[in-house]
Symmetry: D2
Subunit: 374 residues, 4 copies
């Protein structure tokens, strides 16, 4: 095959515009030369490629939980789970990203749904993942043979390249959300995948209250000496709601007692961290839980990088760029890179928000920025 044999994907047009050369036959001829040699000049592209600050293709958007569950439930009825499709996961497709299953340019967010007695087959992939449970229980995720219970409020990180499967041991269907860095690894072309067993063993089908990982790593500030290395992703497979809830409550209580403990008045927040190094649970994904006290507001901020939020509890109002929504339990929304973002809890209740974002990528590459609008 020669490149000449196929039409060049490059298409250039001389236009009269600031910063660009005046259209002329010579320029047109030059552009034809560029096209045939697969070249593109900076001067026609610079406005799009090098803006003064990030201008996201992704759009602020809200998905309603009831509609997600309704469609996932319908999929539960008519779409089987098994090898090949691997998971009954239905992804948010940001309206600015061309119909791809990308919530943001770097993040995948999906609702996953499992019927009673169903099993999602074992596989592993380098993409980092997590589960977050906004409601329900009864499903276990089995990670390298370690069954991990999933209950409301639990956060379950799933570092890349670990074998994992799901099984629903309950009599009711269960839905939860999956977050992954699929778009990032897809775009940067760095992903690996392997199929595992069709069905995990009987022992792994047990339903223990706590996973082995929690029994080893889930004690605050205590490291098992039998695990000397600091893995780049967390060895702790579940962060339980009882702990998260207490941590947030403690921050608000400390604030009321007059001590510095919150991000801003009425805004408590914790980050899920790898206990072996204190860093983000996953090398590419930051995950946090926020609690905004009834009636309180967060500061309005812009950050490099994108995030997806799910309302865990309560009601309130969310502003992202020029969009504003009233939100309630389960609703999910996207905050694109550098979009101003703020939240207000309703006067009726605290507002609990689960968040995941791609900030670790930018921090690792020294490209992170944040700006608070005053």
């Amino acid at each position: 095959m020669t490149v000449e044999a196929m039409p060049s994907p490059v298409r250039l047009k001389a236009v009269a515009a600031k910063g660009q050369p005046d259209p002329s036959p010579a320029l047109e001829q030059l552009y034809r030369g560029f096209e045939s040699e697969l070249l593109v000049p900076l001067w026609t592209e610079i406005g799009d490629l090098m803006p003064q600050n990030p201008r996201s293709k992704a759009m602020p958007h809200l998905w309603r939980w009831d509609r997600l569950v309704e469609l996932a439930s319908e999929a539960g009825r008519i779409v089987p789970v098994g090898r090949g499709g691997e998971r009954r996961a239905i992804a948010l497709a940001n309206p600015g990203l061309g119909g791809r299953p990308f919530a943001t340019p770097t993040l995948w967010a999906a609702i996953q749904y499992l019927m009673p007695d169903e099993n999602a087959p074992e596989h592993r992939h380098t993409q980092h993942a997590f589960r977050f449970v906004v409601e329900g229980e009864g499903v276990w995720t089995v990670v390298n043979g370690d069954p991990v219970r999933m209950s409301r409020g639990d956060f379950l990180p799933q570092a890349g390249w670990n074998w994992h499967a799901h099984h629903n041991a309950a009599s009711a269907p269960m839905a939860w959300i999956d977050g992954l860095d699929i778009p990032f690894s897809y775009y940067t072309e760095s992903q690996f995948f392997e199929f595992g067993r069709e069905r995990i063993g009987t022992v792994e089908m047990t339903t223990p209250e706590y996973s082995r990982s929690e029994r080893l790593w889930g004690h605050p500030g205590l490291r098992p000496l039998s695990q000397p290395d600091a893995p780049s992703a967390t060895p702790l497979l579940a962060y339980r709601w009882v702990d998260t809830d207490r941590a947030l409550a403690d921050q608000l209580a400390l604030e009321e007692e007059g001590h510095a403990a919150t991000l801003s008045p009425g805004h408590a927040a914790v980050r899920f961290t790898n206990p072996s190094n204190g860093r983000d649970v996953l090398p590419t994904i930051r995950t946090e839980m926020h609690r905004i006290k009834r009636g309180a507001s967060t500061l309005t901020q812009r950050e490099v990088g994108s995030s997806v939020y799910q309302v865990f509890d309560g009601t309130g109002s969310v502003t992202v760029g020029d969009k504003q929504w009233a939100v309630q339990r389960g609703d999910m929304f996207v905050v694109p890179s550098w979009a101003p973002f703020g939240v207000k809890a309703s006067d009726a209740s605290n507002l609990d928000l689960f968040r995941f974002g791609d900030a670790p990528i930018f921090e690792a590459l020294h490209a992170y920025r944040v700006q608070t609008d005053r």
Copy 2:
């Protein structure tokens, strides 16, 4: 604006295929629901999104230096340099990437061209950049007021967010290549840009043999105590050919004397590093110079991440995936992620190859892999 008001970018089609649910009216109805709610199921996408190893959209491709220079020279005649277009830079557009000025999914590679007495105006941006000079001299890059000479074989890194301009002090035009992480920062939406002065000052138009950065940081293993911090990108603005050449020659000489010094027999290589921390010169871009001894071959390897090469000197044969090219001075080619890559120097001369790639991104995120084909 409501999402319902605009047509959904999501388009789903039930097809009979392994791992996918059997087509049925119910499935079609489910898909219409997904479309209207901006949802995409994993089971239709998994093959593309989660391959067993990276399958690059980018294609192996070669650009001939004589054609690049010819078109750049023509641009020199008819396209002015100035504010708005900023640079007379003409980028390689990988044929697999849809006509975008992206050599690979993460890397920008361009030939830049400056006529005698021309000045490219000052600006700064968070994208990391470098210049590499395959031939010619006479241009100075002025970085934060420090004029840096550009001569054949010199490598000039340009860390993000530093002010810079170019001026050609010679009586002949000069061409060189620019490398940047524009596609990466474009896709991840993390870029900032500012215009500087239209014209740099008279003092900065001087043409010193060595930049101030080299006089501070260019002495081997010696750190100026007046510069206590370790910047995340290199403070050294030029790596001179005389040093690079000697380092490569020393490796081959040591090998002949019986000592371990090369990557594989006849394959010498150095990496340009930040003297303040020994790491890559730029947080997102790795840069190296390779010398393959006449008649010798490199090992064939696959790596996560993509690279662009330019032949600095000599002739040889390059194999990337299913492509093979005879190459000579100035020729540029792309090695996509996980494509098998090997080089053979001709029997007539050593082959010197300049390389830049995105490996630091994957190393920082613990996602780097390399595999040597035996």
Copy 3:
């Protein structure tokens, strides 16, 4: 003052020995010259200075808890606590270290004793410290105004340069142990000290169940977003026995279920870590809790660096070099650098051992070694 005016501390003697020059009048004259110029040749010293492996000046030694408490209690009766003496702390003086209050060349270990209603005045120092409570309760340590309860089994790290005081709010005296890096900072001459308030404020005299630090930092894997930095010493001021006990019990239970969780059969162990970075709680001191199952033994190991142990519970037998002791609750003993060390729990009960050592110093300087005797 001239050096010549005072007698030289250097004393050299020519002796007939392997590796040393033959005694002669010329050699004696040379040695007189060395003495007058304050010089010492390597050849007379090398055997002591550069042994084939560490030969500790410190000796293995055991202190019985009942005697420690008895003498501390007597001190409680006749020695007041106050400014100047600062603390009623009585330090272990290793018999090999010349009567200095040094348990090992780097570590200070003391029993501290506080009478009902007594207050130890506020101060701060760069030496890192901790408290460990083998029995009793009723004392609060106030760190930067944050009162921290001390109860049996609790471990309270105290990073350098934080203000701290103690007050006994109970009706009984209380004893606990203090560990510090006093000898290390004394020998390396790197210590600073400041007096604080004579008496802490009324608010700080309260006796809350949990310190503010625990409410902020004591939730497993959860980091308060209001505390963005990773301090080099732990921000968590108490590690409670209920957590430590459960972590050790979980390891033994996992072992019984057939999973890798212990250091060796029947030997569970946790390290107290800084939740902000997963590293040792203090930059110079490692602290751990070990549980050896009834009837089980540890491996015999030698390590670079020294440790002090206290029996927290149970009975057993300890071997350090050529010493062996039967131990019980509260007993303290020293393991010098590179001394072979092993423990056996009695058949009557598990043996719980608290340990602190100086390993972080050697790890930070890339000088740590460990060897298991088979």
Copy 4:
């Protein structure tokens, strides 16, 4: 052996003093109890152990180079070099450190002397070392079989646990200085030592202009790809005077041109660094070269940790604490921890000072402080 059987090294005396309990028979009896149990109370020791800032046992002291050479030369005549004594090295013994061969509490500094055709036998040890050459040439240090030339102004680091030997290939004796962390590893009891070959091989007796290490690692900012790891101590075995001299000259020239390049006016300085990570050449020893312009003075500073200086060239005046000396080529002096230190170059010449110190220990442990006296 029982401890009771030997007299306790602890000796306590009740004295009337601020912060100490009033003498009484009860107190005396308590102290007898402490002595018999090997205990020492804090209240009698705190003034010495916990001063408000470091009060060094080491004293400022100066050794004259002509006397050092004279005595070393005499030792060359009457003391053979060989296995057992290992080296003809004569160490500075700080008058405050009890006659031990310790220049400071952590640092060993010695003059080493080798006669024509002499060989110092091969060995290795974990203590980190370096050589610095104030005059002469003709000796090669052979490190792991790599012969490294030693000439005036050269700095040769010698990381722990590398085999090394010396041979004098010239017709004249040669003297140089050795620096090691012997006192630090002695006190912390962390040292290992092994004998090597009695005599190195013929090939290693060659006298190449440059060592293999320099040919691999001595090119500025260029890392050999065949050496992927970053060793904790430098892989570069020689830092040549020509480079050091130029670096210092460049700083003073840049200062004259109006650019920030010096530590303070007229005070140029470089640190010798590990090119693989930009850090100090040795994990425990910092090494630097300073040039004070004729007539200029340094700032007066106090630092945690101690240093030894040698005058490489020029004349000037040195102030350490309450001592002041006029110094010239080869003179060596000690700056104890936290002693105020300043230097003035004579009006006749620049003053070049080689310095080594223990700052990396304190930086690694987060205990470093510096204070500039204004």
